[in-house]
């Protein structure tokens, strides 16, 4: 007993309790990180798995077809303490156009039986989200043969053919008509530029006539292509699938609105895995549909990558130059020390402040001036006088240049002084010393800074919202028309995509899995970049830790 009480005394006096308390800080932090990552991964990655379609028969004999997506204890179910609380299930029943809502709560008490018949099909459509039901080949008037394995293969073939047709339509729409439109626009702008010239002579009039002729020819091309397009569209709309809904109603599904059909209940595990990979790829490489709540996020990925790339191009030379100046050329003293602190602190200034600066300086001041000098023919429509990928990149470059400067300086200062003295002693000039000795040694430090800057830039959203990001960009900033890289275009961004779809879209509930997946991709990009930086930094430290002493 005495021993026990001594133990307790030790416990209080020794402060072991507080050591454990500090450990709880670490434990909580780690739990939060792990919890968050798990949450995002489960919600994001889970959605591509072709889950079982259930057919639920209610006690009222009503049939419901859908995917089980959640369950909960019925809130406010009445008296508590009556034993087991009643549950209810949440089904995604799809067919938003028919049922009004994609989701439906079903009380456990109302369910008579649940089955998973193999002939249930899931249809991915261009509009209105997914549809679930039984599928057969139909005609416009709604007659059908009974569903069997034979018809299923016909359905699959039909969908495949419709997809080929759609690709041709898209090619016509985007590439050919896009090219004609582009040329018409160019000619129109050339005419306006001509009209803005101060002296108008016969040469100008001749040129103007030539442009008018060109526009006429192009417009004829345009009409012809549109006609061909209409024909293809009519062809695509001819064939019809018939979808029998859970309530027994049959709705015709025009094939040009169908993207994919599947029968998840009839799939083997291998087929499901393949479908999973396929869906994931579609998400990463596809275009968004339905106000970004469906389809893929390729333009957002592309926009993010291009923006970060442009930012790197801007930030690298200037950041490195500033750091080299501060460390190698500037006279070290209180002023440089002050500048160093100021630069360091700029990294802590809120990103929205940089966004505001970017809007006022780049977009309005610089962009407005460029428009007046270089693109007067397009006014009053702004070319550079509105947000665009260039301004967004430059804004982020300003935001991240302190990171690069600080990291580069750190790298430069880690180069042992002997290297410098040795090089100069051998007769190299200062610049040669910097170029051939110091910079190569400091390269890991510079790269670390750059990667950190890229990671920061990839995750920033607030400044972009003011300087050129949009929810849906009509075209990528990089295409096949001169000058190929369109720095004035607006772009999409993963981070903004998350904000927009999660908070501004009309159908947040259905879009949530998409947002989780986008989040996962963004986190992956950022965390991988950061880990790379951490590894580089560690390598750098080790290298000079051994060589310095």
């Amino acid at each position: 007993m005495a021993e026990r009480s001594k133990l307790m005394k030790d416990f209080w006096r020794g402060g072991e309790l507080f050591v454990w308390l500090t450990a709880s800080g670490v434990a909580l932090s780690l739990l939060m990180v792990a919890g968050m990552m798990t949450l995002i991964m489960v919600n994001g990655l889970g959605q591509f798995w072709p889950g079982t379609l259930q057919q639920v028969t209610l006690r009222s004999q009503e049939q419901v077809i859908g995917r089980l997506v959640g369950e909960e204890v019925i809130p406010e179910a009445g008296i508590s303490g009556t034993g087991a609380s009643p549950l209810r299930y949440r089904y995604r029943v799809g067919n938003r156009d028919q049922f009004g809502s994609e989701y439906r709560w079903i009380n456990e008490a109302d369910i008579q039986s649940i089955a998973a018949p193999k002939d249930l099909a899931s249809v991915e459509r261009r509009e209105w989200g997914p549809a679930y039901g039984r599928i057969s080949v139909g005609t416009q008037d709604g007659t059908t043969a009974s569903p069997s394995e034979g018809t299923w293969s016909t359905v699959v073939t039909l969908v495949k053919r419709a997809n080929q047709l759609r690709r041709r339509i898209e090619h016509l729409e985007r590439d050919e008509i896009g090219a004609i439109n582009h040329r018409i626009e160019q000619a129109r702008l050339a005419r306006q530029a001509l009209a803005l010239k101060s002296q108008q002579g016969p040469g100008e009039a001749e040129e103007d006539r030539r442009l008018v002729d060109r526009i006429t020819v192009l417009e004829r091309d345009y009409a012809a292509t549109t006609e061909a397009l209409e024909r293809l569209r009519a062809e695509a709309g001819q064939e019809v699938l018939l979808l029998t809904l859970s309530n027994g109603k049959s709705v015709p599904l025009s094939l040009d609105r169908v993207l994919a059909v599947s029968r998840p209940n009839a799939m083997t595990l291998l087929e499901k895995s393949w479908a999973y990979v396929h869906n994931l790829w579609q998400f990463v490489s596809g275009e968004p549909r339905e106000a970004n709540t469906e389809g893929g996020i390729f333009p957002a990925i592309f926009g993010t990558v291009l923006m970060v790339f442009l930012m790197t191009l801007a930030v690298m030379p200037f950041g490195v130059m500033a750091a080299v100046y501060l460390r190698e050329y500037a006279k070290q003293g209180p002023l440089v020390r002050l500048v160093r602190i100021a630069v360091n602190n700029l990294a802590g200034v809120p990103s929205i402040v940089f966004g505001v600066f970017g809007l006022a300086f780049f977009v309005y001041a610089l962009g407005g001036t460029i428009d007046q000098w270089l693109f007067p023919e397009a006014l009053p429509n702004p070319t550079f006088g509105t947000g665009g990928i260039l301004w967004a990149s430059l804004t982020l470059a300003l935001l991240t240049v302190p990171v690069v400067i600080v990291a580069t300086e750190e790298g430069l200062s880690a180069v042992p002084p002997d290297f410098r003295e040795g090089s100069v002693g051998l007769g190299a000039t200062k610049f040669e010393t910097i170029r051939h000795v110091i910079l190569p040694c400091a390269l890991p430090g510079i790269l670390t800074g750059l990667i950190l800057a890229m990671a920061r830039a990839a995750g920033e959203v607030a400044p972009l919202m003011l300087t050129g990001v949009v929810k849906l960009a009509p075209a990528l900033p990089l295409d096949e028309y001169f000058p190929y890289l369109h720095l004035d275009r607006k772009f999409m961004h993963l981070g903004f995509h998350i904000y927009d779809v999660g908070f501004q879209s009309p159908n947040v509930e259905a879009a949530k899995p998409m947002v989780y997946m986008t989040t996962l991709i963004l986190i992956l990009v950022v965390v991988l970049l950061n880990l790379a930086a951490v590894m580089l930094r560690n390598r750098l430290r080790r290298r000079f830790a051994t060589s310095a002493v």
Partner: protein
């Protein structure tokens, strides 16, 4: 470093020396340019903000003597067109248009109805359309439309055609009309008429009778003094009558039924006459001008004790004139107005900000009439000497002062002065309310809640990893926590808004449970570990307590979530939201400060952690070893030695966390309701400066008041974070020096 310069004895065309020099200048120029340009952000922001506070100025651009107007008595109105090219003068004798370029009158066709009429009172109809009513010596009212139509010729030249149209006289009384007020609305047209014998009449024209064939005339009881001014609001509901005894009567004009005297308010010292009454744009603020030169604005405010529920309150007192106020003109765009006095002085006031912006003298003659140019960029005056003066006015941001940005302001429609941010509204008549205080408050509130969560966790974790943790584990844990700092905040904001906020709403009792359960579990775990026989504990070396705690805490948190409904039943009578509102009076919003506190706390934990960790682990190992060797336990060493030595570093860590939280945009944008309210409660939302910028700047017109105020908000954020970070950096550097030299 100077020694490395290339010696002069090298060949003059040495390519290496040239390259060296070039590189030196390129790097110097490029480096300096980079540094200067990033530091120039501050000055650029500053430059965008300063116009807000530049004082207004007025410059006389033209002065014309119109002899025909000399020394004339009786009412007068002036106006000038938007390009300040044509002046319009309307006196009891005539309506004249004067071309300001040539100074010559423009001939117009006068409507025959006006011929032979002696005009004794005038009233403007308010609003954008230039409508007037005049009262005559015969006791009739005439409606006038005076305006300028602008046409563009084929060559694109602007041509202006002044015109005057008049309706037929509407006889309302037999004695001369001395004061008149006139407004027209959806329900028809109303005139308030004061005639020579101090009789007060209300004349109504039905909406389907615009020409006044069947006027409805009601006589009001005779007021206590002579009627000196009348004002009627655009709703056609309220009539204010200024009297010679210094009172203003408020009469309600119900749509049907007799006018009703609501109350009479003393607005000036006794026996000081009210000389003019007028409404600011929007017809809600009544400007009262008196014979002693007083200028004040009044508004109808809800008041429980008043019989009608409303009372006329003095909202703003403006700089007083030295003599009687003789003329008044409201701005058509903002809550500003001009007043002129009998000594020829002209004051420009802004009601909402309670300031008199400009005081100038137009000469020694009394100001008879004054009017703003339609765009508010100029004004015109007419004095008793028959002089017309046109001024150019520079006053782009009258509504913004330090007082309106940070102080309480009495806005129209409010019962009392308040801090309000409401930058836009459905109607043009409602002015933007740009009070930054609710936003600054929101910023501090969010930061505070985030720090409440982050500081303990981050510092505990830093103490643990730097002092108690096993080296191997530390090498793994540290990067994981630090990578958290790189998580895009948009991700955290998304999780906060769409996952945590709805979850917390359901699981609030579980969270309350966690607050109790988690510390208890830590105590129990440490106690259990201490009492455990060594045979078990030796498998886990010292410094891996965190690993033991992770499953325990996970289980505890999971258990709390599972027991959510039990907690709710036991502690909160089955419904926590109802319980909160009945017992504590707290209204729970889904997106609230608690959610932001948790998530933003999560975001700044790694920031605070990594700096605090650095400070703690920089405490020399020799000192720690000494303390331990003298018999102190590891906790005693940490508490009395390490923590004390590293406290400046920990302080700077908290400062940097503070700086990070204050400017955080995406989390607060997505996880609060963005309501600009002043309330410390954890259960409701707020709006921060940063989120406010993100929400409003895309809509703010370039160069406008809102745009510049948002820049001011950005500048504030910049300055605050910069100062906080600099302080933290100084503290850190001092600490570093202490340990490297000491």
């Amino acid at each position: 470093m100077e020694r490395t310069r290339v010696p002069p004895m090298l060949k003059p065309f040495d390519i290496r020396a040239w390259l060296d020099r070039t590189a030196r200048s390129v790097i110097t120029v490029g480096g300096l340019a980079t540094i200067v340009s990033i530091l120039a952000i501050f000055f650029f922001l500053f430059r965008e903000v300063t116009p807000l506070f530049s004082p207004p100025s007025a410059k006389l651009s033209q002065r014309l003597s119109v002899p025909a107007l000399l020394e004339e008595q009786g009412p007068a109105q002036v106006a000038v067109d938007e390009h300040r090219e044509i002046a319009q003068v309307f006196t009891s004798r005539a309506i004249q248009f004067i071309d300001l370029k040539s100074g010559q009158p423009i001939p117009i066709e006068m409507p025959p109805q006006l011929a032979g009429q002696q005009i004794t009172a005038m009233a403007s109809g308010g609003g954008a359309v230039p409508r007037f009513a005049v009262g005559t010596a015969e006791g009739s009212i005439l409606l006038l439309k005076i305006g300028i139509t602008t046409e563009f010729s084929e060559r694109g030249e602007r041509q202006k055609h002044p015109h005057v149209r008049a309706g037929l006289p509407i006889p309302v009384t037999t004695s001369p009309i001395v004061r008149l007020a006139y407004r027209t609305g959806d329900h028809g047209t109303v005139f308030a008429v004061a005639s020579k014998a101090d009789r007060l009449l209300i004349v109504r024209l039905a909406a389907d009778d615009p020409s006044g064939d069947h006027p409805l005339i009601e006589e009001l009881p005779q007021p206590a003094g002579a009627v000196t001014a009348l004002a009627l609001d655009a709703l056609l509901e309220n009539l204010f009558v200024g009297l010679s005894n210094g009172a203003v009567m408020h009469l309600a004009l119900p749509e049907t039924g007799a006018p009703e005297l609501r109350a009479s308010y003393p607005v000036a010292p006794p026996a000081t006459a009210v000389t003019a009454l007028g409404f600011l744009s929007g017809d809600r603020s009544l400007v009262v001008m008196t014979a002693d030169g007083g200028v004040s604005t009044w508004g109808l405010v809800r008041h429980a004790e008043a019989p009608s529920g409303w009372t006329l309150s003095r909202m703003h007192v403006l700089h007083a004139h030295k003599g009687p106020v003789t003329s008044f003109a409201p701005s058509q765009r903002v809550k500003g107005f001009l007043t002129g006095d009998a000594q020829g002085n002209l004051f420009l006031h802004h009601a909402t900000s309670s300031q008199t912006l400009l005081r100038l003298s137009t000469g020694e003659f009394p100001v008879r009439a004054v009017a703003f140019a339609p765009k508010g960029d100029g004004f015109i005056t007419l004095d008793r000497a028959g002089q017309l003066s046109v001024y150019r006015l520079q006053n782009p941001y009258p509504e913004v002062t330090l007082g309106t940005l940070f102080g309480k302001v009495w806005y129209e429609g409010y019962d009392q002065p308040a801090h309000v941010w409401q930058s836009s509204s459905g109607s043009d008549d409602v002015e933007p309310k740009l009070g930054l205080l609710p936003l600054a408050f929101g910023t501090l509130k969010g930061t505070l809640y985030a720090l409440l969560l982050a500081v303990p966790i981050a510092i505990l974790a830093a103490m643990c990893t730097s002092q108690f943790m096993h080296q191997d584990l530390r090498a793994k844990v540290k990067p994981v926590i630090e990578v958290m700092a790189a998580l895009p905040t948009v991700v955290l904001g998304f999780l906060a808004g769409l996952w945590l906020a709805p979850l917390l709403e359901r699981m609030l009792p579980a969270v309350v449970g966690m607050v109790l359960v988690v510390p208890t579990l830590v105590v129990l775990a440490s106690l259990g570990w201490h009492l455990c026989p060594p045979i078990i504990t030796r498998y886990l070396p010292h410094g891996k307590e965190a690993l033991v705690l992770i499953p325990i805490l996970a289980a505890g948190i999971g258990g709390c979530l599972w027991a959510n409904s039990f907690f709710e039943d036991w502690w909160f009578e089955g419904n926590i939201k109802v319980w909160l509102s009945t017992h504590l009076g707290i209204q729970y919003d889904q997106r609230n400060a608690l959610v932001v506190g948790i998530v933003m706390g999560f975001a700044i934990v790694p920031v605070i952690y990594s700096i605090a960790e650095e400070a703690l682990s920089n405490v020399p190992k020799s000192q720690i070893a000494g303390s331990l060797a003298l018999g102190a336990t590891r906790w005693q060493t940490v508490l009395h030695l390490v923590l004390l030595s590293a406290s400046p570093g920990i302080f700077s860590a908290v400062m940097i966390g503070f700086g990070r939280a204050i400017g955080e945009t995406m989390i607060v944008l997505m996880a609060t309701g963005n309501t600009p309210i002043l309330d410390w409660s954890w259960a409701n939302g707020f709006r921060t400066l940063s989120a406010n910028i993100a929400v409003e700047i895309p809509e703010a017109p370039h160069g406008g008041s809102l745009y510049r105020v948002l820049f001011l908000a950005a500048l504030l954020l910049f300055v605050v974070t910069f100062v906080v970070n600099s302080l933290a950096e100084l503290v850190r550097q001092r600490l570093r020096d202490k340990y490297t030299h000491g």
